[in-house]
Structures are given as C-alpha cells and as structure tokens.
C-alpha cells in the first residue's frame, strides 16, 4: 500500500502496537531545555530511574537566559538562575549531552539540534516544547510533549502515541519577490485557522517548498503547531543532505552511505492516502502581518484591520477582544500602524538566512523605532553573522546585537515588552501577554520586521526593495 512520509517514519519506530492502535513509539532524539524538564528529572530521581539513552538526549538552556553580554557573570533573576542551574546539574547527574550557557554552541534548542547534526532525516525527535515541529524540515517526525512525557521518554526512550491523520499542504509555483517562508506558514494558518491542523501531521510540499532553503523549511515547519498540527514535515532532498553532511553528529563514511540509501526513500508514495489536502498558489501569497492575538489573525500588509462582525461564532467576541487588546480600530490600514519596537530572532526566524534577509533591508539605513534588537538563534549563528559583516549592519542601523536565546519571543528572561508597547516580531505567537504583560505583538518575516524598523510602522517590504533596485 502506498504510504505517506509520515506513515513511513511512524512504521519504522513502532515498538509495540495494541489492538486499539495505541502504540509505543521509539524516540531517536530527545531535546531538553530548562523550563519543562526539572520536574521530569525530579520524577526520575524519586523513582530511582535512570535516563535510558543519555547518548540520544541533548540539553541546552535557552528560555531563561539573558541575551546581554553581561550574562557571562551569571543570571541575576534568582528563579531563572535556579532553573538553569537545575539543568546544569541534571545534565551532569544523568550524563546527557549538554551545551551550557557560555558554550559558543549554546542557543535555542531547535536551532542547536540541526546545527550540530543531531536532527537527521527519518528520525523521531521530541522536546518539551511545542516548536519541536521545526525539525520536521529534515523529514523527521518531530513534536512537542509535556513534562510527564519528557519523564516518560527519559525513562523509556519511547512515547505512548496514537497515529495522527495525514494532511498535505501544497504550495504550487514560485514565491514572488519579498515573500518568504514566514509568509507561507502564516498564510497557511490564516487559511486553516489555529485548530485546522488538530489531529493531523502536515506534510508541506510543492514547488515553493522545494525551492526554499533548509532554514526556510524550518520556519515553515516551526509554525505547524500554530495551525494545531501535531507535527509538520518536508521530504528530505539534496538540499537537506547537503545541509546535514559534515555536521558534528551527522553520520560519516560507510554510515553516511547507508543513511543516504534510506533517506532517499523518505518521500510520500504516489497514490498515498491523504485525509485532508490544502493547496495554496505561491503567487497568491503576499507579505503578511498579524493584527490580532492569535496567529490565525493574519492578513496581507496591503489590507486593513478587519471588523469583528466579519467573523462568525465565538470568533466575533475574540476579535473584539483582540482589537481592544491591540489598541486597533477596524478599517485602519495595516501599513499605518506605528511600531515602538522590533524583535528579530526566535526558533522561527533566528537563523543565518533570517539575519541576512533583515540585514539586506537595513544596509545603509537607520531605525525609526524606540528600540530594536537582533537575537541570533545560537552562538554559532552569531559568530557567522559577525564574520559575514551582518552584525555591523545591524549595529550601524541602530539595532542591539545580542547573545543567543529565546529572548523576547516569550519574555521569560529580561527581554520583555512594557504594557502597550507595540512590537514587530519575527517570532511565532502574538498571544496576549506573550512578549510581556500588555505587550502588543505583530508577527511577520525578518525582512518585514527590518522594513518596519526603518519606517517606524508596519511596512510593505516590497516598496523598499524597489527603492534598493
């Protein structure tokens, strides 16, 4: 029977299946960060259990870490410090791989995993973090889990799962200039809604997906969770193999050849069954921004703030509440919305390609916002950006050049919005209070965020590209 890519990876990892379909799924890589793991390690200790496969477990602190240069002196906030110290000692006690705060390889767990070659095609990857979907860009089955499941994976290297349904999201044709992976993934959520993917694993495919870089594919898969899907994935191809090859934990020699032989089979078969299919034409996708407090509240930058009455059911009240929280009025042009702050970074858009895209807009320009920061996704991304001269472009434009971490994406660290502060952000969630209590978040691509930084309001990046040309 023809299989989808998800079917193939699933089948290769089933340890045991009950008659009702409840399955024990083997986990190839377990990524761990400081926020969702302390209670899991404590649970192991209480039960006298060990980590079953410490060699497949990779820990890195990212959510709590400050991103200012003075962090080498330690973390000031006592609770954050305790959480990071707990990860330090748990990693040592249980013998898992660990990248401490001041290691150049430290960064956001979903950027570090692929960068170090831990994430490989065909793997099962989990982490106590919803944005684990990022790793699906390699053709891995990757998803977030809760802390009880973190403990379960630590103890057994397996998860109790039921198989999800298969959804295909096809993006036909080529993206127009100024339109990026972020615009694809936000536009898909705009189409399906934040619950549209519930119960599904999404495979993204089509010419526009094939034409994306690996970094772009990570951006697309990263936000599969915002569409409600368990995971998002993309079939591996030559770009994937080229990205993986030579990374510290990628296979080498004969093992590389054996891996490649299997990896090349990792694609959905002709005639495979899809429970749901969604198709978008790349040429119909525009640079988008969010206006509300859910990632589904997304519109092309050329549009206006919608009226709550345009919606139906519970969404009417939710939209009303969102406009009130965001301080916006129906009918207001999106491109008239003034911005206080710009945040470029996160597991969605904190990779080298994202920094290049933003720097291209910022080159020779100055910011017109109160503050702007770039937070590279890892120490290695930061080093590469410095080597490529991108850091200097950001600094010259007036951006703060920070150290790696989750930063203002979720504001568990000192990087936060003040009440009412309005931010153009490249992160993934515009929920109420996400970037700080009362903070107002507009999600967009790095190039769009850079354009907003220059003009001080939400801006169609395509206009600035014409200026450059």
């Amino acid at each position: 029977m023809p299989k989808t890519l998800y079917d193939k990876i699933w089948d290769a990892h089933v340890v045991h299946e009950d008659s009702d379909g409840t399955s024990l799924l083997y986990i190839d890589r377990h990524l761990v960060h400081e926020v969702t793991s302390p209670q899991a390690f404590e649970g192991l200790r209480m039960a006298g259990r060990k980590v079953r496969a410490p060699e497949k477990t990779i820990a890195v602190p990212d959510h709590n870490v400050p991103t200012t240069p003075d962090r080498v002196k330690g973390i000031e906030n006592p609770e954050s410090r305790i959480q990071v110290e707990a990860l330090d000692s748990n990693a040592r006690e249980f013998g898992v791989h660990y990248y401490p705060v001041n290691d150049i390889r430290q960064g956001i767990v979903h950027i570090v995993g692929p960068e170090q070659g831990w994430t490989l095609p065909g793997m099962t990857v989990v982490c106590g973090d919803s944005h684990t979907a990022t790793h699906g860009a390699f053709g891995a089955l990757a998803h977030g889990i809760g802390t009880s499941e973190v403990e379960h994976v630590l103890a057994t290297q397996t998860l109790i799962q039921k198989k999800s349904k298969n959804m295909k999201v096809e993006i036909t044709g080529s993206l127009p200039p100024g339109v990026t992976a972020k615009d694809i993934t936000l536009s898909v959520i705009g189409r399906t809604g934040t619950a549209g993917g519930t119960g599904y694993v999404i495979e993204y495919c089509g010419q526009a997906i094939e034409e994306l870089s690996i970094e772009g594919r990570m951006t697309v898969c990263n936000m599969a969770i915002e569409g409600g899907a368990r995971a998002g994935l993309i079939a591996p191809d030559e770009k994937t193999f080229a990205y993986v090859k030579g990374r510290p934990h990628a296979p080498k020699g004969a093992q590389w050849d054996a891996a490649m032989a299997w990896w090349k089979t990792l694609k959905s078969d002709e005639g495979a069954h899809w429970d749901k299919v969604i198709t978008l034409r790349a040429e119909d996708i525009a640079p988008v921004v969010t206006w509300g407090t859910s990632p589904e509240d997304v519109l092309p930058i050329t549009d206006s703030v919608p009226a709550p009455e345009c919606y139906s059911g519970g969404k009417v009240e939710a939209a009303r509440r969102a406009l009130d929280y965001m301080g916006l009025k129906a009918g207001q042009k999106l491109s008239d919305i003034e911005i206080d702050t710009v945040f470029i970074g996160s597991c969605t858009n904190g990779r080298i390609e994202d920094l290049r895209a933003a720097a291209e807009i910022l080159k020779g320009r100055k910011i017109a916002v109160k503050r702007a920061m770039v937070v590279p996704g890892s120490g290695l991304v930061r080093a590469q950006a410095e080597e490529e001269g991108l850091a200097q472009i950001f600094i010259d434009a007036g951006f703060e050049w920070r150290l790696a971490g989750c930063s203002m994406c979720l504001a568990m660290n000192p990087d936060q919005l003040a009440p009412g502060e309005r931010c153009a952000a490249t992160s993934n969630r515009n929920f109420e209070g996400r970037q700080g209590r009362g903070g107002r978040t507009h999600l967009m691509s790095p190039a769009m965020a850079a354009a907003a930084a220059v003009t001080g309001k939400l801006t169609d990046v395509r206009e600035m590209m014409t200026e450059t040309a």
Binding site: D28, V35, D129, G146, A229, A258, A259
Partner: protein
C-alpha cells in the same frame, strides 16, 4: 496519578475561543522547578490587575465559581505551548474536567497525565452546558467517565468519545511509565534491531 471516575459540580463558563496556554499560566510562573502551587496564578493576567488585585468581573473571581471543578470553554482550548504547567495550574486550582468543542493536541494529552478529563462535545451540546455554567450553583453538571456521559442540569445526557487506553488509565489512576516499563523487553529488542538497521542514529 489521581483517578478520575465521576464528578458532579459547578462549571465556570469561559466562552472565549482559542484560550491559549499563555493565558492559562503566563510565562513568569514557568520558572518553578515544582509541579505544585500554580493554582493561585491560574489565568493570572485575566484574574488580577497590575497591582495583583482580583478583577471582580473575571469568572473565577466571582463567588459562584471560586470553587468550580469544571470549565466549559470556547473552541480550541489550551492552544499554544506544550507547558504542562497549564494543566498543573488548573488542577491545583481544583478544576478536574474541561468541556469544549476542541482542544489543542498537546494540552489534551497533558490533562490525562494529571488526572484531569478533557471532554469534546459538539457545539450545540457545549452551548447547553455553557448556559448551565452561567447559572452557577443552580445548574450543576454531572460527568461520568465509565459511561462516557455528561448530564446537564435539566437532565440532557450527552455521550462523549474517549480513547479506551486513556480512559483505562484515568479510571485506575495508572502511571504510564510503569506500564511502559512492563514492555521493556520489547524496547530492548527494538533498540537492538534499530542499531542494525540504522546504526547512524
């Protein structure tokens, strides 16, 4: 883990759609290394003002709902992050069951690990239960896991679906890890075979 068998109680109405995990438990409370004590910060930014005073309008601050054990909520409850702090905070407050038309996947799974029952019902049934919830003490809702039913205050009985394994674990308060470790020889065998088939992993 706590068992869940049956419950009759007051339900708090939260009709807002897409109630996300940042609303349920804002990030500043994720810095704990414990599972307990999060109930006081449940829905913190909706429940308290900047000074930490209760916002009287918020449902769980109203006298009728301060001891609610059930939530009736809008679509897609629990969307957002994987933080198990969300069910921990709900459970610590005293919520044992949540009724909605849909739940986000990770939140839904996390509930079962904490002795909580998330119940999916069609819109029209949720609407009836939402009306009951608005009546507070005067309209208690009854949930029975064994028979997979929710009974509204005026006696409508609604059946809900639940995965048999999850039901079994919840009824008996079973610990997943213990169950899985009974299959440790299957894991050993799988690992040995996988090491042959995919030695690079």
């Amino acid at each position: 883990m706590d068992r869940f068998t049956a419950l009759t109680g007051v339900a708090a109405p939260m009709p807002l759609v897409n109630i996300d995990t940042d609303m349920i438990i804002p990030k500043q409370f994720l810095k704990t290394i414990q599972r307990s004590g999060l109930g006081k910060n449940l829905f913190d930014e909706m429940r308290y003002d900047d000074q930490g005073n209760e916002i009287p309008d918020f449902v769980l601050n109203q006298p009728a709902y301060r001891k609610a054990q059930i939530l009736v909520a809008g679509d897609n409850f629990g969307c957002g992050s994987s933080r198990e702090h969300a069910p921990w905070a709900l459970a610590d407050f005293g919520i044992k069951a949540i009724i909605s038309t849909s739940f986000a996947d990770i939140f839904y799974n996390n509930c079962f690990k904490n002795g909580m029952l998330p119940i999916v019902l069609p819109q029209e049934q949720v609407d009836i239960l939402m009306e009951d919830a608005r009546k507070g003490e005067n309209a208690r809702i009854a949930i029975d896991l064994q028979s997979q039913t929710v009974t509204s205050a005026d006696g409508h009985v609604f059946s809900f679906e639940i995965d048999p394994f999850k039901k079994h674990c919840l009824l008996n308060g079973l610990d997943d890890i213990g169950l899985t470790l009974e299959k440790v020889s299957a894991i050993d065998t799988f690992e040995a075979e996988a090491a042959q088939a995919r030695p690079w992993v």
